[in-house]
């Protein structure tokens, strides 16, 4: 008997639902998980995936992808390419592996939530394939990173990172928990597939893949390109879900999409920003992080908002201003607090690099030049101890990142601003007006104690930087250091990029 063509049966199969007779619908599809809200139950029959695929097709396609990705890896493993990779670039890979490998596994669980509680059988089927995707991504990231563990213990953080309380991981975990686990599956579909995956993984997986190829890291480019082909498919669960929510509850749709976009942008500012503008060797940088964001994120995101009838987010001006400052401050923070991370941040402020930064970000020298001047000067004088931290940066109560966002006052002066909020006799601090507002609206699902708050509460002993490092799981063999051993400072880097500025 010949197989029926997919078109002859998939439409019918996609609508198959259980008729519940022994339990209440609410018991099987509780509202707190399903989150249908104002969307009538019958409206879910109109949920249609843009990208149709059967399980047989899925297995065949994935098998080919696996064969391709692993054969490239096997070939590269026999070469000496990995040994010649730039130390700064390797840190991009270490940061990526640590921040994403087990986040992919968390995403598998999130896909399972949609596969169980999505109110459309088509959606549930698509989410099953999405779950298989995410398991594949976890396995690939762990396997690809494992190759380097014997040579460099920092690569072991592909597996370890999410089992620690490292501050960067606490920030990532806060975002992912908020998007994937403390929300119902409708909000999850808008936060994860629609915003994080459709909107932002292009940046990390496509743009970073281009940088990886340019830097000679064929294996890493091969890995993340293979992953992105899956992301592009399962990310499409977001569109039909948003379409229904916009139709029946546009205010909620706007809020969830706006919130998810902001939180994702904050995380990518530390995940992708330093990699693109500082860790990638200058000769291999094709575009700045800001240019990538403008090309890959803003254009596409604005088109998506228009397509679904949503408005521009209320914070758009702050987001645009942030493209010039967020990741520069975060990079400076990561570099100065380098013993607290599992990679070796490349300072990226040699003379030539500062000229490049100034050409891409016209306010860079004014905002960050004087600070790097002092650091560079200390290194030249052999005062490394003055380039290392003695306390912790204060962390935002929403995004969990250091409060280091420069903004311009009415008088034209740039400075860091603290946005505080008194609630129940406690003062919370935020990096921005937007983080403060999101926390206030969604504090029941987004609240997480910061590392600083845990230190002050006595959870970290001894309550000093050394105690914090131990509590974060940072051991001497993985504690970050400058990628180039400060040679950028000693060999005439820094300071001279701006006319008239010199090291004192």
């Amino acid at each position: 008997m010949g197989l029926m063509k997919r078109e002859e049966w998939q439409g019918l199969a996609g609508d198959v639902e259980w008729t519940l007779r022994y339990v209440d619908d609410e018991a099987v599809f509780p509202e707190w998980q399903c989150g249908t809200g104002k969307i009538p139950r019958e409206a879910w029959a109109g949920w249609h995936e843009a990208y149709k695929m059967t399980y047989a097709e899925y297995v065949a396609t994935q098998s080919e992808k696996e064969a391709s990705a692993y054969s490239v890896k096997a070939a590269i493993q026999r070469s000496t390419i990995a040994d010649s990779l730039d130390e700064g670039w390797k840190s991009s890979a270490k940061l990526h592996y640590g921040a994403t490998a087990l986040a992919e596994y968390a995403a598998a669980l999130a896909e399972l939530r949609m596969a169980r509680f999505g109110l459309s059988p088509r959606w549930r089927n698509m989410a099953v394939l999405g779950c298989l995707d995410e398991i594949r991504h976890t396995q690939m990231a762990l396997y690809f990173a494992h190759e380097f563990v014997a040579k460099d213990a920092q690569f072991d953080w592909a597996q370890r990172a999410y089992h620690t309380n490292d501050w960067a991981i606490v920030a990532a975990r806060g975002l992912f928990d908020g998007l994937m686990f403390s929300s119902n599956v409708v909000d999850l579909a808008l936060g994860l597939p629609l915003t994080f995956e459709s909107g932002f993984t292009n940046l990390q997986f496509v743009a970073l893949s281009a940088d990886a190829l340019a830097a000679g890291d064929v294996n890493f480019a091969n890995l993340i390109s293979s992953i992105q082909t899956d992301e592009a498919r399962h990310a499409q669960q977001g569109g039909p879900t948003l379409e229904l929510l916009v139709k029946h509850d546009p205010i909620r749709a706007q809020w969830v999409v706006d919130k998810s976009f902001w939180l994702s942008a904050r995380l990518f500012a530390i995940l992708s920003g330093p990699s693109m503008d500082y860790y990638t060797p200058l000769a291999h940088r094709r575009h700045s992080y800001k240019e990538f964001m403008q090309e890959w994120i803003m254009t596409q995101y604005m088109r998506m908002l228009k397509e679904y009838g949503l408005k521009k987010p209320w914070y758009w001006d702050e987001f645009i201003e942030g493209l010039d400052v967020w990741h520069h401050g975060l990079h400076l923070g990561v570099w100065f607090w380098r013993p607290t991370v599992w990679w070796k941040p490349q300072a990226g402020v040699s003379r030539a690099e500062r000229i490049w930064l100034q050409s891409k970000y016209p306010a860079w020298e004014e905002l960050y030049g004087p600070i790097w001047d002092v650091i560079t000067d200390n290194l030249r004088r052999g005062k490394e101890e003055d380039t290392l931290p003695a306390t912790l940066p204060w962390l935002c109560n929403l995004c969990q990142l250091p409060i280091c966002t420069m903004s311009k006052s009415a008088n034209g002066k740039w400075s860091v601003k603290d946005f505080s909020l008194d609630h129940n006799d406690y003062t919370y601090h935020f990096c921005s007006r937007v983080c403060r507002q999101i926390w206030w609206e969604d504090r029941d699902s987004m609240h997480l104690e910061t590392v600083v708050e845990r230190l002050l509460a006595g959870e970290i002993q001894p309550a000093d930087l050394g105690g914090a490092l131990a509590w974060m799981g940072i051991t001497p063999d993985v504690a970050g250091d400058d990628a180039y051993g400060y040679r950028w400072a000693k060999s005439g880097g820094g300071a001279a990029a701006a006319p008239g500025r010199g090291v004192r």
């Binding site: 600070i371 200390n378 940066p393 204060w394 409060i403 603290d418 601090h429 600083v452």
Partner: protein, 90 residues
Amino acid sequence: MSLVSSEPRAIPINALFGGDFVTLLVVVLSTDTMADVGRKVAANVVGKRVAPRRADMAVYYRDELVPSDRTVAQAGIAPLQFVLVDYVDD
């Protein structure tokens, strides 16, 4: 009974030094004067990320300049509050 205890208490504050790029956890004492607070915050920043200057420092709390001889307790600076320290322009 005085509302302002003479016993020193540790007060963790969220501090920014003018010209720096990040706010910091700094622990001061309730008996510290604003001059002490300025020095404790500056110790984490000046000469490390902000160039030293031959100028006085001032402490601002809730956007108001606090006199340098006033203590943390007298200024009403409670734990977790934001404090700005900066050089005073001539």
